[in-house]
């Protein structure tokens, strides 16, 4: 199965997200990750979906998304930047050797700290976030959260 990212611009109205998600669940399509937020002018929202499937499935997903009445636009571009965010909570008692270098490599930083733990944050594409989280394992994270992808077309 291949990975595909699709964005949908929809009218920012009641129930629209469940229409989109229902389309996936009703047809047995995968959703790897999902992010939603209103666009600048608030009339529309952008839904970013990472999905797994084959070409035939992707074609259907795109057509079915088009078919929904509140759908304004389906963006299925291959030229985009993609960012995910991960937050990792680590106890202060851990040995932080090498952390600076890792954060640098992933454009990360420490975003919170108190007497017991720190939280580090990194934003990158999904693959790099995978690697980042793998690397962070050596600090025995207390918890990890990860966002879905947000996308922006570059062409």
């Amino acid at each position: 199965m291949k990975r595909r990212v699709i964005s949908v611009i929809v009218l920012n109205e009641h129930g629209v997200l469940s229409r989109v998600v229902g389309l996936f669940s009703g047809r047995g399509y995968n959703i790897e990750s999902l992010t939603v937020a209103p666009l600048d002018d608030k009339e529309f929202s952008r839904i970013n979906i990472v999905t797994l499937g084959d070409e035939k499935v992707f074609e259907q997903i795109i057509k079915q998304l088009h078919k929904l009445i509140p759908t304004y636009k389906v963006i299925d571009s291959s030229d985009f930047i993609e960012k995910e965010t991960a937050l990792v909570k680590i106890a202060l008692s851990e040995n932080f050797a090498g952390l600076d270098a890792i954060l640098k490599a992933y454009n990360g930083s420490i975003t919170y700290s108190d007497g017991e733990f720190i939280i580090v944050i990194a934003s990158d594409d999904a693959k790099n976030i995978d690697n980042f989280l793998k690397t962070m394992k050596k600090y025995n994270p207390i918890s990890v959260v990860r966002s879905g992808s947000i996308l922006m077309e570059v062409k």
Partner: protein, 569 residues
């Protein structure tokens, strides 16, 4: 600026949309709406006896008239009863507007009495739905609902209206026109693609039209007949397309698919250019998809882009309204010097198949054959509007009733909803006035909405119900007999009620029929009667629907009826 309450707005909108009949059933949350229905004079409200029936009646009203069907139900169980009707209409792309009442906004989400997430439930079985949060948005939503139901690929639209909104007062501003940023169906086919199709037709040796339900909903029957005769290209029809071509049109190879004609299925299998028109490649037509029209270039004309290449890869898609596209094809064809004699060889081969393997049955004088009953009905009431329920009788009607015009048949194709036909027949009758409406129904199906006999007599809606009674859930029995070694698990209906007494109980007329003569007499009496009639016709219990393609098989591998008495040279 005129101010109205929500219920008045609903009635005003129905008036503006020129709705003549509304089917429904009242209840607590719908009380305000029903109070307005009581006061208004523009449309007739038919009180059905079960909400499912309201939807099926509205659905068949739409199928027969080409207009939009409208139903009103109350919240909770009123709505959930209606869901099967929504699903049925959705599967067959029937324009319908369902207005359901909902508990008041303040109660939504509290598990209040008769509260259910109606919008959540209807979402997968409607083209679009709305929960009306406040009175200001009601006029626009009403207008949009009718617009969406009747444009593009048609379908049911559901509006859920909380009780407080039906009482709230707001400004009545009904939009004249709808323009939606996000919904713009494509009506004109791409002219480049159409030109390409014309050259494909010119280069084909064995072209074939494959007509689906979209031909009917686009009202394109006349144009298609013209195109097919202009090109001299044969056509197969789906169940939903029956009547697009005249039954006796020589280019009509009849229904294709699981119970289609041998000739139609061979034509699909052997053509080199398949022009699918408003058809969606249902698995009941394609059989095993890898074997379907294997050597053919596939052209797919449809108003709904998402139905293209969903099941069978289309090499040449044309998105647009069928009538427009067909007219454009005709125009382009007429510009060229087009030789329509070149498919004669192909057509002769197909005609030979038709002669060798026609749709036949073995008639009998001992026991009534359902096929004979169907043919006899066509002889006695040619041109009647035909409704069917679901099962063997449905397929026999599809095979043996000579459909001659579009919208002559209403049947549940996509869902195969048992219980459809009696309420559908009533809706159909209200749509067609004086015309004769005949409902072919199985003994199993008839019991699923039999209470609608009461609606028929309460409003003097006269239809003729012909129960093709085999004391079996016949279609399931047939599968059990062919694929489950005759283990007739839960399909024997020998203990059936006395349908005649039941008919009389509902103030309808009833006739038991055991032989040909009795059928003719009873049917003539039914034609003359002013009342809805039930003809309980005892047919051969073990008659099968043939030909048949076993599920999942290639459509050219058919179980055929016995041609032993035919000259097969």
């Amino acid at each position: 600026m005129k101010e109205l309450n929500g219920s008045q707005m609903i009635c005003e909108a129905l008036k503006k949309e020129n709705v003549k009949v509304v089917f429904g059933y009242p209840g607590g949350a719908a009380l305000n709406i029903y109070d307005e229905i009581y006061k208004q004079t523009h449309f007739k409200h038919i009180l059905v006896r079960h909400e499912q029936a309201a939807l099926h009646s509205a659905d068949a009203y739409a199928r027969m008239s080409g207009e939009v069907g409208v139903a009103v139900v109350t919240s909770g169980p009123g709505f959930t009863n209606a869901v099967t009707g929504l699903a049925t209409a959705y599967s067959d792309s029937i324009p319908l507007v369902l207005i359901s009442a909902q508990v008041a906004n303040s109660l939504i989400g509290t598990d209040a009495f008769q509260e259910i997430d109606a919008i959540g439930i209807s979402r997968p079985c409607v083209k679009h739905n709305y929960l009306v949060k406040n009175i200001e948005e009601l006029p626009k939503i009403l207008k949009e609902a009718f617009y969406i139901a009747t444009t593009g690929r048609k379908g049911p639209v559901h509006i859920d209206i909380p009780k407080d909104v039906t009482a709230a007062i707001g400004v009545w501003h009904y939009p004249k026109e709808i323009s939606m940023k996000t919904y713009k169906p494509t009506y004109k086919g791409n002219i480049k693609q159409i030109k390409k199709l014309v050259s494909l037709i010119k280069n084909a040796q064995k072209p074939l039209f494959y007509l689906g339900g979209g031909c009917i909903s686009s009202n394109a029957s006349k144009e298609l007949r013209e195109l097919i005769h202009f090109c001299q290209i044969p056509a197969v029809e789906t169940l939903m397309a029956l009547g697009t071509l005249r039954n006796d049109d020589k280019f009509n190879l009849k229904m294709a698919g699981m119970h289609g004609s041998y000739c139609a299925n061979i034509a699909l299998s052997e053509c080199d250019l398949l022009i699918a028109v408003g058809a969606r490649f249902d698995d009941r037509i394609t059989g095993k998809t890898s074997e379907f029209a294997k050597g053919a270039k596939i052209v797919h004309i449809d108003i709904d882009p998402s139905s293209i290449s969903k099941i069978i890869e289309a090499h040449f898609p044309i998105v647009g309204d069928i009538k427009n596209v067909i007219l454009d094809i005709l125009e382009e064809l007429k510009k060229e010097d087009f030789d329509n004699t070149k498919y004669q060889e192909w057509f002769k081969t197909l005609q030979r198949y038709q002669q060798l393997y026609p749709l036949i049955y073995e008639d009998s004088d001992e026991v009534l054959k359902p096929q004979w009953v169907i043919e006899e009905c066509a002889r006695l009431a040619p041109d009647a509007r035909i409704i069917t329920d679901v099962g063997q009788h449905q397929m026999w009607v599809a095979q043996f009733y000579p459909f001659n015009y579009a919208r002559q048949l209403a049947t549940s194709g996509g869902q195969g909803t048992m219980g459809y036909s009696l309420p559908a027949a009533l809706g159909a009758k209200l749509a067609v006035g004086e015309e004769v409406v005949v409902n072919f129904v199985g003994d199993g199906s008839f019991l699923m909405n039999i209470q609608e006999l009461m609606t028929a007599s309460a409003y003097d809606i006269k239809v003729i119900n012909i129960i093709l009674n085999n004391s079996f859930l016949g279609m399931v029995r047939q599968w059990q007999s062919m694929f489950y070694k005759e283990r007739f698990s839960n399909t024997d209906l020998t203990n059936q009620p006395d349908f005649i007494t039941i008919a009389k109980g509902f103030h309808c007329k009833g006739y038991n029929v055991f032989n040909k003569e009795e059928f003719q007499k009873a049917f003539k009496a039914a034609l003359e009667s002013k009342k809805t009639c039930v003809l309980n016709v005892a047919i051969d219990r073990y008659e099968d629907v043939l030909p048949m393609v076993p599920a999942g098989g290639a459509i050219y591998n058919m179980i055929l009826p016995s041609y032993k008495n035919k000259d097969k040279k």
